[in-house]
Amino acid sequence: MTYPIDKIRNDFPILNQKINGLPLVYLDNAATTQKPKAVVSRLSDYYLMENANVHRGVHYLSIQATEEYEKARQYIADYINAEKKEEIIFTRGTTESVNLLARVMAPWINKGDDVLVTAMEHHSNLVPWQEICRERNARLRIVPINADGSLDLNFLDKLLKPTVKLLAVTHISNTLGTINPVKEIIKLSHDKGVPVLIDGAQGIAHNPVDVQDMGADFYAFSGHKIYGPMGIGVLYGRETWLRRLPPYQFGGEMIEKVTFEESTFNVLPYKYEAGTPNVAGAIGLEAALRYVRQIGIEEIDIHEKQLLAAATSQLEQIEGVRIFGTAKEKAGVLSFLINGIHPYDLGTLLDQMGVAVRTGHHCAEPLMDTLGITGTVRASFGMYNTLEEVDIFIKAVKQAVKMLR
């Protein structure tokens, strides 16, 4: 079956606009993806016809909203193949998911312990662990990367010691595009008794995710990077872990019974969902995942890899181009610099030509330090991008280079 690109583009009206009189070429999908009509109409239906608070009402709308919210949880659990829906905690996004875990794991992390992160982490999967280590007098150890942007697995193996309380590692690098061999990494870690958090902010949108098959103890992702609403995210945690760990925030739905002397806390997953949850976000995320499933994540992956390959080979033709991240397993992201040209200048001129890219450090400053640069230009692809857009992007880069040299 051919990839239904026309149908897809038709489902994303935002793409059909002009910037400076030129067609928009949206290549900032690693920052956030656009939303298909199906997601927006699900949100709109919910707010116009179904809105009520969940879990506490005796009335029709509340019961219906609760059912929809819990159906979304079940759908997401099935989508990432969690064993139970109780393992799906709704959060505001990946960053909150990581912060939640860091906060509740803190009592387990003591002086002399290690937490491992990698040199390619986004700040959101680095700084929370840095802070917890500082608080608990533990050491943050960094797993280095190889020259091509792949993870140094030999070094990881050496760092995996009994003092390590957690390995936090990204599924796909938001800057380099490297797809980490998470199944293998988790196996290595589990052999040494180390639990693993996978940052799936990029991973969720570019390849199939099966948390049981990969063996993840925790998997965090955001709705808005997989064509869903902003402000909704997920922390998947294996039930045995979530039962052991303490609650995160207090109040609202997470309470079982309260007296002035003490309170007892609700069962999973509500133990981790204090306050009124983002019901619309959850069901909007379900709609987004349904949309992705209808196209097929494998098909999307193949399509995006064609775009990445075409963009890479055309970009390499331009004199003085340096591509950051050349690992064999790579997805979604093309980070580069052109000799003598500041990424900000290039990004500004691309913007004038309707091409949306990201420039800067991509919230990975330590990685930039490792690479010895201050930033890159990053083009990142989504399911709706086309080979024609890759051509426009390359032409625009060439035009900008001509102006800047």
């Binding site: 400076n20 500041h342 900000y344 200048d345 990004g347 500004t348 001129l349 004038q352 420039t359 800067g360 201050t374 930033g375 102006m403 800047l404």
Partner: protein, 142 residues
């Protein structure tokens, strides 16, 4: 020339450009020509925060006038800061502090003014005003 007259010159120059490309080509040329600040001023002390590209802005008082020098590692940013220096350098602190900044709207650079914009135009403006204010206070206390 007064600040106002210099601003009018810039507005006139920009009004001749129909295409965005000409406007940016002009800024790039300005950026390439910018008299660089001395290397010794390219330190964190003179670095303006809020810019994705790095901008160093240095000021001194000469015969009652504020002399501004700057540099940036991005050429468009350099062009923008060069535009500001052409207009404001060589004027008294009072003249700088009383100046209008709406010429930036008129040349279509307003899009760069939002505080989140990566080139930090608003930070540059604030820094020029801060220098002027500091010199003004120093003058008055002498």
């Amino acid at each position: 020339m007064t600040i106002k007259e210099k601003q009018q010159e810039v507005i006139d120059a920009f009004s001749m450009f129909d295409e965005w490309m000409d406007k940016y080509a002009y800024l790039i040329e300005l950026g390439k020509d910018l008299p660089l600040a001395d290397e010794k001023y390219k330190t964190n002390q003179y670095l303006i925060s809020g810019c994705q590209s790095r901008v160093w802005l240095q000021a001194e008082m000469k015969d009652g006038k504020v002399i501004l020098k700057a540099d940036s590692d991005a050429v468009i940013t350099k062009g923008i800061v060069s535009l500001l220096i052409d207009i404001f350098s060589g004027h008294t602190p009072d003249e700088i502090l009383n100046a209008d900044w709406d010429f930036l709207d008129k040349i279509g650079l307003k899009e760069h003014l939002s505080p989140t914009r990566a080139n930090g135009l608003s930070s540059m403006i604030r820094q020029i005003q801060l220098y002027a204010k500091a010199f003004q206070i120093k003058n008055n206390s002498n």
